[in-house]
């Protein structure tokens, strides 16, 4: 949990982005959380517990693995995979929940709530709540309950209750609305574990810091495996937590390009996508000012992506800042390209990636042309694809 820049500022802003745009009822809860976090984050005891849990319960560090056949396929540079898919519960999401549950415990909260899109954050939250014996409620859009049914059942097995959300577009955004409403109502005894670097301050900072273990490991592993810093790190961006965790420790390492890949859904030009950094404008949603997909009346637009975890109209405010400052680049790949990469990586590497992660892989098609043989490119494999088998089989016309 090193700090590489001094952002956010004391009001929670990364440049002009971020902030705390919430109903008054939540202001005290956010202050309480911020004070607790600031007090704990540098304490040795807290850090010791956090890293112990990451090591013994999650199985960190996750390997940095040379993707030999994928590298051969593109014919230039070396492609390395950061294996967050090997974490307990199968995605990077657990890094954050391990940290936040420690905060919840310290604050004496009895009840845990979370939103989830792909279900990975729901599983990761239910997991840490089960470990501490805390009551846990997961909000999930009705459409996502359908397409991520495997994770719904995992969450239930872990003893948490899944609330299917029908309002609005019945996806991640609406699950977040409902989680916020729960929090407003039960604010005294409830801890809200937000699942990405989104939401009001201090969440974008906290979720980034807990996920930064990924980037910290990458610095050491890069030195060890190829003796220099990588030329690029590629990660998919939904809310942006796996990307932010990988990028953050590299912000001051200028030789490393930071590339975030958004979901272009049916294609950027169709307007039916989930790529606010590529085709949105600054606006306020879920407590923060950031790039947002919105119409000319300031209403939030419906999103489209084959990947539930990327199907969100907003993005973490620090990404908006990284985009405007030019430190990171943001591109988008569509559903078809992501599905192709899903199959490609499964067959070439023996790794079935999450559909979210498949977006990062798909961009290699464009990116690898820009590099020579000596380059080292890291793909953050944010999660494994078991949860997506039904979705992909259906698209391929196969009944399981």
């Amino acid at each position: 949990m090193e700090s590489n820049n001094n952002l956010p500022d004391k009001n929670g802003f990364f440049g002009e982005y971020g902030g705390k745009f919430v109903p008054e009822t939540l202001m005290y809860a956010l202050d309480e959380l911020e004070n607790t976090y600031n007090k704990l984050k540098d304490s040795n005891e807290f850090k010791k517990q956090f890293y112990k849990d990451l090591s013994e319960f999650v199985g960190r560090p996750s390997p940095l693995y040379f993707a030999e056949r994928l590298t051969k396929h593109y014919g230039t540079g070396s492609i390395w995979l950061k294996r967050e898919d090997l974490n307990h519960t199968g995605a990077h999401k657990i890094n954050n929940t391990i940290g936040q549950i420690l905060l919840a415990k310290y604050m004496g909260k009895k009840r845990i709530i979370a939103e989830t899109g792909a279900g990975q954050h729901g599983v990761a939250t239910a997991t840490v709540a089960a470990r501490l014996g805390l009551e846990c409620h997961i909000y999930m859009g009705a459409e996502d309950v359908q397409r991520q049914s495997l994770n719904v059942y995992r969450i239930k097995l872990l003893g948490a209750k899944v609330h299917s959300v029908d309002s609005g577009s019945a996806t991640l955004k609406d699950a977040l609305n409902e989680a916020l409403r729960d929090w407003v109502t039960n604010v005294d005894d409830t801890y809200y574990i937000i699942g990405s670097v989104t939401g009001p301050h201090p969440y974008p900072m906290i979720v980034r810091d807990f996920n930064s273990v990924v980037g910290e490991e990458l610095i050491d592993q890069s030195k060890e495996l190829f003796n220099t810093m990588p030329d690029a790190i590629v990660a998919c961006v939904g809310g942006g937590s796996n990307a932010m965790g990988a990028f953050y420790p590299f912000i001051n390492i200028n030789q490393t390009r930071l590339i975030g890949v958004e979901a272009a859904g049916n294609g950027l030009q169709t307007g039916e996508h989930a790529a606010p950094l590529n085709d949105g404008s600054p606006g306020v949603l879920h407590g923060a000012l950031s790039y947002l997909m919105q119409d000319e009346a300031g209403q939030v637009k419906a999103t489209k992506s084959v990947s539930a975890g990327l199907d969100y109209p907003g993005v973490g405010p620090e990404h908006s800042w990284l985009k405007d400052s030019g430190r990171a680049e943001y591109v988008a790949v569509d559903d078809d390209e992501a599905l192709e990469a899903f199959h490609q990586v499964s067959e070439l590497e023996g790794i079935i990636p999450a559909l979210e992660t498949a977006h990062a892989f798909a961009y290699l098609e464009t990116l690898m042309k820009e590099f020579d043989d000596k380059s080292n490119i890291i793909v953050n494999v944010s999660g494994r694809g078991d949860k997506d088998i039904n979705t992909v089989a259906e698209i391929d016309g196969i009944k399981i």
Partner: protein, 261 residues
Amino acid sequence: MNRLTRKLSEIKSNNKKALVGYLVAGDPDIETTVELMKLFSSSGVDIIEIGVPFTDPIAEGPIIQKAHDRALKKDTSLISIFEMIEKYREFDDETPLVLMGYLNTFIYHKKLIENNENNAVDSILVVDIPGELNLGDYGVKSNNINTISLISPTTKKDRVKLIAENSTGFVYYVTLRGVTGSSNLNIDEIKKNIKEIKRHASVPTLAGFGIKSIEDAKLLADCSDGVIIGSSLVQMIEQGSEKKEFDRIGKYISEIKKAIS
């Protein structure tokens, strides 16, 4: 003087309590909203609060969320709302009108608010900004539009003072931890908190969010300067809108008015 300020001081000098009625603009459609506003004011509503529909109204319970959805399906925007208000003002230039909504739609229509043609709108309540801030802090300079800020049961004492001083219309005390239309009023806590607010506020303190019945309204009016009725009216609008039968609403409003007078 701003209509809201004038109305509130008139109510105060008559030793009465203010009745604020909430509806969502464009629910069931914008023409009917004008009719409902007339019904509100003729039945005893002192101040009309007009909900500006938003796709993601995080502070609203299911009843008002659905009203926002209905209004959005009819393409209601702040542009059509300002037009509607202009029409309404031809009939009624007295009743204070308050817009209640979410920051994103207000920032998007900055120009409309800054123009505020003929000062038709008297006040704006932005649900999703901290109580010590107002639209001016987000670059929207509003002419003769005053600020209504929310204070909730969880607001810390040092913030109560800041927020009370920031409110130029009235202080809106959120009577419960929850979304609009919930029910778990704790009258003792409410009394205590409103008393604390009144120590700092130079404007009246009104109570709202969980008022579901005439009895609730009476209890809360006793310890505040007035009450805001939202979900129960919106529910009646939903039930009556098929046949546009809104008589029950007028009756309900006048009963509340009587109960709190």
